[in-house]
Symmetry: D2
Subunit: 138 residues, 4 copies
């Protein structure tokens, strides 16, 4: 099955903008990260619980990210974050994300995430891999 995570809506606030009048370029990474957190949450994956896991902290980390900026976002904009898993291989997860405003692409990202257990790269646990497979575009 190919399912996309429900797009996640967010609003642009004062804090997100810079003196050029547009959203500061690093803030898009916050937006994408909120989108990933909500996509994981919708799949039943709670990052604060993973971090507090009995066997030691488990967490996702960004290894590599390419971001393309197509249009500036601005104060008060209402945006949507789309999150798709492209592939899961061992300790690596490939994701694609898009930030949209009124159907137009504001920014796009390709990411490679790693999974860490007690600070070391580890295979993505089976139940997490199975959950992510639900939003994997085949």
């Amino acid at each position: 099955m190919t399912r996309r995570a429900e797009p996640f809506p967010l609003r642009v606030y004062y804090e997100d903008t810079d003196f050029s009048g547009a959203v500061y370029h690093a803030r898009y990474l916050h937006f994408f990260e909120r989108g990933r957190t909500e996509a994981l949450r919708a799949l039943g994956i709670d990052q604060s619980r993973l971090f507090a896991a009995a066997g030691g902290p488990q967490l996702f980390v960004v290894r590599r990210m390419t971001i393309e900026y197509h249009r500036p976002a601005r104060m008060d904009d209402l945006l949507l974050v789309e999150t798709t898993v492209a592939a899961i291989t061992g300790a690596r997860i490939a994701m694609r994300q898009r930030l949209l405003r009124d159907g137009n692409t504001i920014a796009e990202a390709e990411l490679e995430l790693g999974f860490l257990v007690r600070g070391r790269p580890a295979r993505v646990p089976a139940e997490i891999a199975a959950a992510l497979a639900l939003i994997t575009k085949g």
Copy 2:
């Protein structure tokens, strides 16, 4: 009439936390600011439109703020921001805000805002003052 702005819900994300495990103390100001922006929006006051006003930029600025931190907020917390206007006098607006989690106060703020037109202190326009009066606690 005494009416409070609808409490504004927000989620704590990775970006909001610091290495101590709790939310970074400056982020609470972001949360309060989002609460004010949404309280204004609910009253029909759009800050990006004010800033683009024909007669030159109009904006609210924080003059003075006292913030009390009662309990740490943490990753994944769901919080509510309450915003009340305490008084409006000429170019100054006094506000009170609370940040709540499950009915418990996380942080409280008392603010004095100014209103600027083309960079200069100015009286709060009558229609804005009238709108703010709707969430003024008498």
Copy 3:
């Protein structure tokens, strides 16, 4: 002896500004926090070492802060942070900080800090209190 911590210089970057053209009001808390961190470091107090202490994490937390905004800071500004300890009483430290540009006060803060050991309020350890006494204004 009354000694002030060496003022700490910092530069305003894109990230610090918002669409109004000035520095975002929450960023001043970052500037003050950097100033406190550098004042502590100059006194031999290393916060990452405190957090990794053998007996469990030790850290300073902000309990209460009043900040007054006098003038806007802007992109490329070179600012100075002044940090003074006003009093140390048990688990509480009162501090005063000023942010200056060319000798003019941009913002001022009064803070009450707490000290936590393993997440609980604790007396400021004697050697930290002694170090802070060096920048206490009597």
Copy 4:
């Protein structure tokens, strides 16, 4: 001539970290941006002056960025940002940046910047191109 901009030193503060204990992944973009701003400043290019240019705002924008995260940076780390121009072609500038700690690479970035005049893509002005050529790796 092939010259590199002087590496720019910066310190990691509380604000830069997240609850995982390391620097939040979006903060590296702030560090790189500070490095670019200081590289430009060293070449006599002042971004706040460009933005206030008589003929309308001139600014650099990030069009595309690939960032690789090699090692986590942590609270109190002292880092260096290296900035090199790879190529300038019309309205596009290709840059490479590295973030180093004690000679080890923390993160690397490849960027494509655009130049905007009054919000529209424009050729990089000759004197800016000439200045950037000084830190272009041929």
